[in-house]
C-alpha cells in the first residue's frame, strides 16, 4: 500500500525502555555547528508536506498531529534518544510491585498558558479525556489500552492504574499523543480542540490551526519546565514559529532554496545531494523506528501461501539496487521486519534478505512453477504465476509508483507477473480485507517501539470485512509469534524482552512474511542559519532548542 500518512493503528507501544534513535544527526555540507552559541529571537518558517486535519493529538488519527501539537503540549515524561525515560512535568515516579500502578510526583510550578494551574486533577482529566468515547480517539487511546483510571492522591501526586503491567506505558506517556492540555478546554465539545489547543508548552498558538494553511506559534516567555531531554533551560529561543502546509514537493523545495521558508520537511531524495552541495543549506535526517516501508505477501491464499514462492520472491529480486538507484542512499535498503533504529533490532536476520537469483529460481521450480508461457512467465498446471498488487495512486509518495514498476520488471526476470492495480480507496480496503483479494500489499508504518511487530504481524490485526484497515497485511497468523510478542509486552526484564523480540524477528524472517524495501528517514532541509533542530523518538523534528544564527 502506498498510504501518504505515517498514520497508523497504535497499539500499546511496547517495552521500549532502551530506544535508540540511530543515524540521527546533521550531515550538512561544510562546517555546521560553527555558528557559535544560541541566541534568542527571530521567526522560523517551516514548510511541512502533510496536513494534520485535526490539531488535537488526543483524537486525531494522523500521527503528524503530534508534530503540530508538540510546541504547545508538554508530557509527563520524556523519552531520550538513548531510550531512557526522563522527567518533564513529572519530577519523579514510582511503579507498584505488581507493575499495575504508576505514581507520578508532579512539578508544582507549572501553569497552562491560559493561567490554569497544572496539577494532579489536570493529569486525571487528560487521561480520562483520551479514553472517553466522546473523544473518538483514533490513535492516542490505542496507546494505553490497559488504562483503567487515575486517582488524585494530593494536588501534586497522581496515580495511574493499569489492568496489567505494560512496559510500553511510560514510552506512550512520553509522546505528544498523551500531551497534557488545559482541563477547562477538555470539558466542552472535543471537536473544538481540532482547531485550537491550550497546554503548558514553550509555545502558544492564539489563532490555532487552519486546514491547508498551517499554524503559527509565539513563544511563551515564562516557560521554565523543559523536558529532561532539552538542551537548554528557560523559554524557547524562537520568538515565533510558522508552520505552513506545502504538499507539492517542487514548491516546497523551491520555497526553501529561494529563501521564502527557513526549513522544509521531506526533501525529495533526488534533491538531497543538490541541497547538500549548496553552501547555504544543510540536510538533517533521522531514521524512523518501527516498521520499514515494506511489501507484504498474502500468506493465507494464492501463490504466496507457499512459503517457497515467498522465499523466492525475497531472494530473487535485487532490492538493494532498486532502492539505491531510486533514493540515492537517502533511504537505506531494509533487511529486517523492523527498522535498524528500533530497540531490540536483531542484526542476525539480515543475511536472509540477500539477493540470490539462482536460489530463487530453484525454489520456484521446487514449488512446481516449472512451465513457461509465451510471454516467458512461469506456469503451474497451465496457470500463470500472477501476483495482484492493489495500490492507491492518489496516496503515492516517495516515488513508490516508480518503485512498483521496477519491481514488476525485476519480477518478470524471475518469470513472475505482478499486476499493479490502481484502485480507489474503498475497493482497496475491500481487496485487503479478504484472503482472496490480493497477493501483495505495501505500506510503511513507524512507531518508536519494537511492539511495531505486534501491529504488523499480530494475528489480531488481520483485516476482515468488518474491521476496516488492518495493519497485518501479510495476514500472518503464527501463534508462536503472537506469544513472543505478548510476553515481550508484559515482561519487566529488558534482557528477556530483547530475547523475545529477537525470536519474533527470526521466526517472521524464517516464514518470509515480509519483503522489507527501505528504511524511512525524516529528511529536513534547512538554511544554514537554522541551528538546533532536534528529533523526537518517532523522528518528527522539534523546535524548543532551535535558534537562528546571526548572518
Amino acid at each position: 500500500m502506498s498510504v501518504s500518512r505515517r498514520s497508523g493503528f497504535a497499539v500499546a507501544t511496547a517495552a521500549s525502555l532502551t530506544l535508540v534513535l540511530a543515524a540521527c544527526g546533521s550531515s550538512g555540507s561544510g562546517a555546521t555547528g560553527s555558528a557559535g552559541s544560541p541566541v534568542s529571537g527571530g521567526t522560523l518558517t517551516y514548510a511541512i508536506n502533510t496536513d494534520a486535519d485535526c490539531l488535537d493529538p488526543h483524537q486525531s488519527p494522523a500521527d503528524v498531529a503530534g508534530f503540530f501539537a508538540r510546541p504547545i503540549l508538554d508530557s509527563l515524561v520524556a523519552l531520550d534518544p538513548g531510550g531512557k525515560i526522563l522527567p518533564w512535568l513529572a519530577k519523579s515516579w514510582t511503579v507498584s510491585a505488581d507493575g499495575r500502578a504508576y505514581t507520578f510526583n508532579l512539578r508544582d510550578d507549572v501553569t497552562f498558558s491560559d493561567g490554569e494551574a497544572f496539577d494532579a486533577a489536570a493529569v486525571k482529566a487528560n487521561f480520562d479525556h483520551v479514553v472517553n468515547p466522546k473523544t473518538q480517539s483514533k490513535l492516542a487511546a490505542g496507546t494505553i489500552p490497559t488504562y483503567t483510571g487515575a486517582r488524585v492522591i494530593d494536588p501534586h501526586t497522581v496515580e495511574i492504574d493499569l489492568s496489567q503491567p505494560s512496559s510500553a506505558f511510560l514510552p506512550a506517556v512520553a509522546t505528544a499523543y498523551l500531551g497534557i492540555e488545559a482541563p477547562s478546554t477538555l470539558a466542552g465539545d472535543p471537536k473544538a480542540l481540532c482547531g485550537k489547543i491550550v497546554g503548558t508548552g514553550p509555545f502558544v498558538s492564539a489563532d490555532g490551526y487552519t486546514p491547508q494553511k498551517g499554524i503559527s506559534y509565539t513563544r511563551r516567555n515564562d516557560y521554565k519546565w523543559p523536558a529532561g531531554t532539552a538542551k537548554h533551560q528557560g523559554p524557547a529561543y524562537l520568538d515565533r514559529l510558522d508552520i505552513q502546509v506545502v504538499t507539492e514537493n517542487s514548491s516546497r523545495l523551491g520555497a526553501l532554496t529561494s529563501g521564502q521558508v527557513d526549513a522544509i520537511a521531506s526533501v525529495p531524495p533526488v534533491n538531497v545531494a543538490q541541497l547538500k552541495a549548496n553552501p547555504g543549506f544543510q540536510i538533517q535526517t533521522a531514521q524512523a523506528p518501527g516498521g520499514n516501508y515494506s511489501y507484504y505477501p498474502n500468506t493465507q491464499s494464492g501463490p504466496f501461501a507457499d512459503i517457497r514462492v515467498r522465499q523466492a520472491f525475497r531472494s530473487g529480486i535485487d532490492w538493494d539496487t532498486i532502492v539505491s538507484k531510486l533514493y540515492f542512499g537517502v533511504f537505506q535498503p531494509a533487511k529486517n521486519p523492523l527498522a535498524p533504529s528500533t530497540v531490540d533490532y536483531d542484526k542476525t536476520v539480515e543475511p536472509s534478505y540477500a539477493y540470490d537469483p539462482a536460489k530463487a529460481n530453484q525454489l520456484l521450480d521446487q514449488a512446481g512453477w516449472t512451465g513457461r508461457d509465451a510471454q516467458g512467465y512461469r506456469t503451474k498446471d497451465g496457470v500463470r504465476l500472477t501476483l495482484v498488487h492493489p495500490f492507491l495512486q492518489a496516496y503515492v509518495r516517495e516515488q513508490r509508483d516508480v518503485l512498483a514498476d521496477q519491481l514488476q520488471a525485476a519480477a518478470k526476470q524471475l518469470g513472475i507477473e505482478i499486476k499493479n492495480q490502481n484502485v480507489d480507496y474503498g475497493t482497496y480496503l475491500k481487496l485487503l480485507a479478504t484472503p482472496e483479494g490480493h497477493d501483495l500489499g505495501d505500506f510503511s508504518w513507524q512507531r518508536a517501539s519494537p511492539d511495531a511487530l505486534r501491529t504488523l504481524f499480530g494475528s489480531a490485526n488481520i483485516a476482515t470485512p468488518q474491521s476496516g484497515f488492518g495493519t497485518n497485511q501479510a495476514r500472518y497468523d503464527n501463534p508462536a509469534v503472537d506469544k513472543y510478542l505478548a510476553d515481550a509486552l508484559t515482561t519487566g526484564d529488558p534482557r528477556q524482552q530483547a530475547d523475545l523480540y529477537a525470536k519474533a524477528q527470526q521466526q517472521i524472517t524464517a516464514d518470509a512474511a515480509v519483503f522489507p524495501v527501505y528504511v524511512f528517514n525524516y529528511v529536513v532541509g534547512a538554511a544554514k542559519k537554522v541551528q538546533g533542530i532536534t528529533f523526537e523518538p518517532q523522528a518528527f523534528p522539534t523546535f524548543y532548542d532551535t535558534w537562528l544564527a546571526q548572518q
Binding site: 486535519d53 468515547p133 473518538q136 486546514p211 506545502v246 523551491g254
Partner: protein, 328 residues
C-alpha cells in the same frame, strides 16, 4: 400626455412578468441545488467503501468499539433513504453537518477557505476579461501576422496544462527572480502568479470567441455607416462593435465559471494556497461526505448565481430582450 396611461400599464405588466420570471428563477434554482446535492449524495454512496472507514481516518486500524460508536453517532446503520432524509432535514434548517476528517462544522470549514478562493476567482476572472477584450479589440481584422501570432498564443494558453504553467511561472518568477512568493495566500503579491495561471486558458478561449464576434460585426453595414460619419476607428470598435460582439462572450461566462472552479483545484495545489479547491481534493480523498456535499452545494449555488447574472447582463446589453420579457 395622453400616452402616459398606456405606458404605465405596460410598465406594470412588465413588472408583473419580471416578478414571475424571478419567481420561476428562484424555484428552478432551488431545484438545481436539490438535484446537485441528491446526485452527489448518491454518487458518494455508490463509490465503494465504508463510511466508518472514512470517519475513522482511512488507513487507521481502530477498535471495534470505536467503529460501533461511529456507526451509531452518524446513523450509518440506518437505511440510505433515512440517512438522505435526515441530511435534507438538517440542510433545510441550515445545518450542513460536521466534517468527518476535520471534525468541525462544514460551514466553518468552507468559511475558512471561501474567502481565499473567491479572491482568486474574482481576480482571475477580471484579469481574463480585461486581457481578452484588449487583445481582441487590438487584433480583430488586423494584419495577418499579428492575428497569427496572437492566435498561436491563445491556442497555447488553452492547450498548456495549468499545472505545468504554474510550475513554470513559479520557477522563473519566484525561485529565480524572487519577484513573487511561491507559497501561501497572503497579500497581493501572492495572488499574481496563481491568477495568471488560472486565467491563461480562459483568456485564450475568450479572445478567440470575441475576435470572431468583432470581425463578424465589423463587416456589418452599420459599421460602414458609423465610419462614414467620420468616427475614429477606436471609437467604432469600442462604442459600436464591442457591444454587439460581447453577447456570445457572456454566454461563455457560465463555462468560464466552471473552468475557474475546476482550475482553482489545480492552482491552489501548485501554489499551496489555502482554498476550496484543496479542501475539495482532500474531502473527496477522505470520502468526507458532509464536506463534499457542502462544497457541491456551494459550487451549485455559485453556478446558479452566475447564470442569473448572465441573464441580467443580457438584458442590460441587448435592448431587444428587455421588451421580450414574456417570451423568457
Amino acid at each position: 400626455m395622453t400616452t402616459v396611461a398606456p405606458v404605465r400599464v405596460a410598465t406594470a405588466r412588465r413588472a408583473g412578468s419580471t416578478a414571475r420570471a424571478i419567481g420561476r428563477r428562484v424555484l428552478t434554482s432551488v431545484l438545481v441545488l436539490w438535484g446537485a446535492v441528491t446526485l452527489a449524495f448518491l454518487a458518494l454512496h455508490l463509490i465503494p467503501g465504508n463510511t466508518v472507514d472514512a470517519v475513522a481516518g482511512g488507513t487507521t486500524q481502530v477498535t471495534p468499539q470505536l467503529r460501533a460508536q461511529i456507526t451509531a453517532e452518524y446513523s450509518l446503520d440506518r437505511p440510505l433513504v433515512v440517512q438522505y432524509l435526515q441530511y435534507l432535514g438538517k440542510l433545510v434548517r441550515g445545518d450542513l453537518g460536521d466534517s468527518y476528517a476535520l471534525r468541525m462544522p462544514v460551514a466553518k470549514a468552507i468559511g475558512q477557505q471561501l474567502g481565499s478562493t473567491m479572491i482568486l476567482l474574482v481576480t482571475a476572472t477580471v484579469f481574463a476579461i480585461l486581457v481578452s477584450v484588449v487583445i481582441a479589440l487590438l487584433t480583430a481584422h488586423r494584419r495577418r501576422w499579428i492575428r497569427g501570432l496572437f492566435s498561436g498564443l491563445e491556442v497555447t494558453g488553452v492547450a498548456v496544462p495549468a499545472f505545468w504553467l504554474g510550475i513554470l511561472l513559479l520557477t522563473v518568477f519566484s525561485f529565480q527572480l524572487h519577484w513573487f512568493p511561491a507559497i501561501g495566500s497572503a497579500g497581493i503579491a501572492g495572488l499574481v502568479l496563481p491568477a495568471l495561471t488560472l486565467s491563461a486558458a480562459p483568456i485564450g478561449m475568450l479572445t478567440q470567441v470575441l475576435r470572431q464576434g468583432l470581425e463578424r460585426v465589423l463587416d456589418e453595414p452599420f459599421v460602414v455607416t458609423a465610419r462614414s460619419r467620420g468616427i475614429s476607428e477606436a471609437a467604432v470598435r469600442l462604442r459600436h462593435v464591442l457591444r454587439h460582439a460581447v453577447l456570445p462572450v457572456i454566454t461563455l461566462a457560465g463555462w468560464l465559471a466552471g473552468t475557474m472552479i475546476g482550475g482553482a483545484v489545480v492552482v491552489e495545489q501548485v501554489f499551496s494556497r489555502q482554498g476550496l479547491g484543496r479542501l475539495t481534493v482532500n474531502a473527496v480523498g477522505h470520502k468526507d461526505m458532509p464536506l463534499v456535499l457542502g462544497i457541491v452545494l456551494i459550487a451549485a449555488l455559485f453556478y446558479v448565481l452566475v447564470n442569473i447574472a448572465i441573464d441580467v447582463a443580457y438584458r442590460l446589453i441587448d435592448p431587444r430582450l428587455r421588451s421580450e420579457d414574456t417570451t423568457r
